[in-house]
Every structure is written in C-alpha cells, then in structure tokens.
C-alpha cells in the first residue's frame, strides 16, 4: 500500500497555533497504529481561523480538518483521519470546495498551501520557473515591455506601474545595478508578503531573477524585517537550493546571465519600509529617508540604479511572462483604485476588524 500523504502547514501562524506539535503527534499516532504516512509540511492556504489545518490526500482530492489542536490529534486519528474519513466535528471535507476558497481566483497565491515551500519539485510541477525560462528567451527590453503590458502596479502601497520603474533602471547605464525586494512589511494587519516568503519562496526568487534580467542587475537583496525569523529561514534555504539547481548564480540555467541573491535583515525600524530609508539601511546606515530626486531607479543602492519592489509585486512577475496565465490589465493587481496591500481577515471573515478588506483577501 502506498503511504498516505498528510499535510500540516508550516507557516508562522500555523506554527504559532501548535502545528509542529500536531505534526509530531500525527507521526507518533501513525507509528503507534503502524500506518504508513508521508507527512508533508505545506504552506498555509490562509484560512487562519481553521489553522492548524490538516489535510489528507485521498483518491478524490485533499480533505481537511481544522482547526486542529495537538490534543485533538488522537481523537481525529481514531475517527479515521488517516483514511480521510469525515466523521469528526473538525472535518471540513474537500478543502478546494470550501466556500472561502471556491470564490477566489488565485494567481500569485496559486501554489500557496498546496506545495512544500522548499520543494523545487513541487514548484516546477506547478509552472515554477516557466516565467524565468520565458524571460531568458526575451531581450531585456522585451521583458520590460511584457511587464508594462501586464499593467502590474506596485503592491507596496503607491501602486506605481512596475514596468515604468523597470524601464528607468533599464535605461540608466551603470556597471552595477540592483534588485531590492521590500520585505519590510511593517503595517500591522498585513502579512501577505510573509505568506509568499514562507509558503512559496521560489516564486519571489524567480520574480527577482526576471527583474535582474530585465534591467541588467546581477545582484538582488531581500530586505526582510527581523520580526520574520521563519521567512528568513525559508528564504535562505530556498536560495541555497535554487543556487544548487542552477536557478541562481553566475550562469542561470546555462544562459550566461548571472544573478545573485541575498537576504538582509532589518532591525526593527518601521520607517525602513519606505524605500529610500530601506536603501540607507541596506547600505548600513541609520534608516533616514532620502530626498527624491534622485529616484532610486537612477541613484539607489550604493548610488547605483536600483529596482525597489514589494514582495508581491516581484512575486507576481513570473506570471506575466507565461502568457497563458497572464491576467488582463483589469485584474485587481493592475487596478490603481485598489492599490493597497491585501489584509487577511482575523480569526474568521467576520470577526475582529472587518473593515479591512477581507474577501477575497488576496486575488493576487
């Protein structure tokens, strides 16, 4: 008999609610019962009121249970969790059919919750690095044009057209240019960037690499807030794996192009989410806002032309070069009317601070 695949999310929130203990107890229960299971740590689907959300792979799809406290595990197992039986109170049935997910069209978040964030196999099995391959076939200007046509606007707050920003960096001659990812996500109530980094880090890596190809930058930095230790660990590991597999480094996929990536930690200063303070901080200074002009696109990190984009902006990039998945400019992310970063609902779509956009929290 083939091993049953069980999913227990590994993002910060699931873990903050005991997902690690749940996973450990599931393993112990399987050993106790002599059941062959494969425990996979996936990303979170974002249904946090249901976390830890345990899923079981069945012939008819993934069925879920949640919220599962460590103390619920034994009862769940006894009620046939390993077989995907749906008798227990916490059983949620086919998770894809859950009303909260059913009415969403997920693009940037299409893999999140489904895959093991650090599995290159999972990533490539779901369109991962297709965008990069597509981009390698284009000229830098070609990539910039694609991004322009997509209508992507910055997800960091100001909704500035990403393609135009890239064009400026592309057009500014310099021996060294940089791609900087703004992962300082400081506003309370926002954590979509965190989810991307913890649950689908390769997507961000791919987006940044494409940005590098587009503007001629060979070095990227992810400026990550120090309050996200798990995101740091995930990104660091993902970078190591991507490098080993040839997606990063001196010769990306044998293309002759180089792109290096490094995570740099912030240190507890909200203002460093503002892009010019962020650059100061990356340079090792006090994070004081710089006067603009000069624009970072012209004089950015270490005085060199620099793309500064939010995590979600960069993470969305791989989609644009894969024409099939390309959204129309009317898609939410291209809308200047809704430029603000999505917030996730609190425990349930109705609880807490429902004035924040709640449903669908993140079309992107």
């Amino acid at each position: 008999m083939m091993a049953t695949t069980i999913y227990v999310p590994c993002d910060t929130t699931a873990r903050s609610l005991g997902a690690d203990a749940v996973a450990a107890r599931l393993t112990r229960a399987a050993e106790r019962l002599g059941v062959d299971i494969q425990l996979k740590r996936n990303g979170s689907r974002g249904l946090f009121w249901l976390e830890p959300l345990v899923e079981v792979e069945t012939a008819t799809g993934r069925v879920a249970y949640g919220p599962v406290a460590p103390t619920d595990v034994d009862a769940l197992v006894d009620a046939g969790l390993f077989e995907g039986r749906q008798e227990h109170d916490l059983a949620l049935g086919d998770i894809e059919a859950h009303p909260y997910l059913a009415r969403q069209q997920r693009l940037t978040f299409s893999r999140i919750g489904l895959t093991d964030p650090l599995s290159l196999e999972d990533y490539t099995a779901r369109q991962g690095f297709a965008g990069l391959k597509q981009a390698l076939a284009l000229t830098p200007q070609g990539i910039v044009d694609e991004v322009k046509t997509s209508g992507l606007r910055g997800r960091g707050g100001a909704a500035f057209p990403t393609g135009i920003k890239w064009q400026t960096v592309h057009d500014t001659p310099a021996a060294q240019k940089y791609i900087v990812c703004n992962a300082d996500e400081g506003d309370s109530g926002t954590f979509a960037d965190r989810l991307v980094m913890e649950c689908d880090p390769f997507m961000l890596i791919e987006g940044m690499t494409i940005a590098g190809l587009a503007v001629g930058a060979t070095q990227g930095y992810i400026y990550l807030r120090s309050e996200y230790p798990l995101a740091q660990a995930m990104l660091d590991e993902a970078i190591v794996r991507a490098e080993a597999a040839g997606y990063l480094g001196d010769n990306i996929l044998d293309s002759g192009h180089a792109f290096h990536l490094e995570v740099r930690l912030g240190a507890g200063a909200y203002i460093c989410g503002e892009e010019t303070s962020l650059l100061e901080s990356l340079e090792g200074k006090r994070g004081l806002v710089r006067a603009k002009p000069p624009l970072p696109a012209i004089e950015g990190l270490f005085g060199q032309p620099t793309v500064v984009n939010n995590v979600l902006s960069l993470a969305a990039v791989p989609l644009f070069s894969t024409r099939a998945a390309r959204p129309t400019p009317t898609t939410a992310w291209a809308s200047p009317a809704a430029p603000w970063r999505c917030s996730w609902p609190a425990t349930s779509p109705v609880a807490g601070w429902s004035s924040w956009p709640s449903a669908p929290p993140c079309a992107s």
Binding site: T12, S16, S281
Partner: protein
C-alpha cells in the same frame, strides 16, 4: 588629534568579536549583517564591539553608536536566557494584547527592556510579527505564539523554565 582606540578589557571577548567582524567586514553594506551576527553570538552588542566595528568598517564610534541606537532590534545589554517579545501593534491590540501585556509584566515582574532577577527572561515590545490573524501574538526567541492569553503565557513560561531545569 588621534584617539587611541579603546581596548576591550576582556581579550577573549575581543577575539570573538574580531572573528565575527573579520567574517563580515568585506560585505557591501556590512554594518547590519555584522551587528546581527554579533547579537546572534552574544545576545547583545557589547560596548567594546563599537570601536572595533568602527575601525573595521571605517566608521567612527559615534556613527556605530548612532546606528545601533536607531534600530530597536539591537540590544546593548546582555539579555536573559529567553527574550520574550509582546506584540503591541494595532491588530493584536484589537484582540486583547494590552491585557496580555499587563499580565506578562506582572507575571515576570519586569517592564519592557528589563530582565527578570533570575536572568531567565528579558521582556521587549515588538510591533507586529505578521501573525495578526491569530493575535495576541508573542515571540519567544525565534518562536511565535498566537492567540496568547494569560493562562497560555503562564503555561509557556512554566515550560520554558522547566526546560532550563531539565538542562541543568
């Protein structure tokens, strides 16, 4: 006028610091990675590190001091065995972070930036751990805990202290 670089009294400490400094000094924008590395090694940035960092990165002591004090993540005093950070940001406040904060302070008998007398815990504020959906949140060392309340906190600290006893 040239000022002699003040020498750290503790030469073992100096050697440790120098090793970390040498490891990071050549990186572009080395300051923050270096400070993080020192804090990872010692739990804080010893005063003695400041002139050494300044020398290695061609800064002055004043600048390094200004940088360290700008970033609230960096400590300048040794912390307790565990650092507990309570989220004070809006989303957590909306679901009871203030009550939790009050409980934590009285349970530990310390205010923010203080360390318990047994040097077990140092208490610090933090502004959002990205766990807003399931607040109140707090962080103990690198672990984040959600939906935290007074009882949960007491269980947590009991566990942490117990672990210490076990280790001993």
């Amino acid at each position: 006028m040239s000022h002699p670089t003040p020498q750290p009294a503790d030469t073992a400490l100096a050697a440790q610091l120098q090793a970390v400094i040498d490891q990071h000094a050549a990186r572009p924008g080395a300051m923050l990675p270096l400070l993080h590395a020192i804090q990872a090694q010692h739990g804080y940035i010893p005063d003695a590190a400041v002139p050494m960092i300044a020398e290695a990165l061609r800064h002055t002591r004043a600048e390094v001091h200004g940088i360290i004090s700008f970033y609230h993540h960096f400590r300048t005093h040794p912390p307790g065995r565990h650092v507990i950070q309570v989220c004070r940001a809006e989303a957590c406040q909306a679901v009871g972070a203030r009550a939790l904060e009050a409980h934590v302070k009285s349970a530990l008998g310390v205010d923010y930036h203080e360390t318990t007398a047994d040097r077990e815990f140092t208490l610090e504020p933090v502004y959002c751990l990205g766990n807003c959906a399931c607040g109140p949140s707090l962080r103990v060392d690198d672990e984040i805990h959600g939906r935290m309340d007074a009882a949960g906190f007491d269980r947590l600290t009991a566990q942490l202290s117990a672990t210490v006893v076990e280790v001993k």
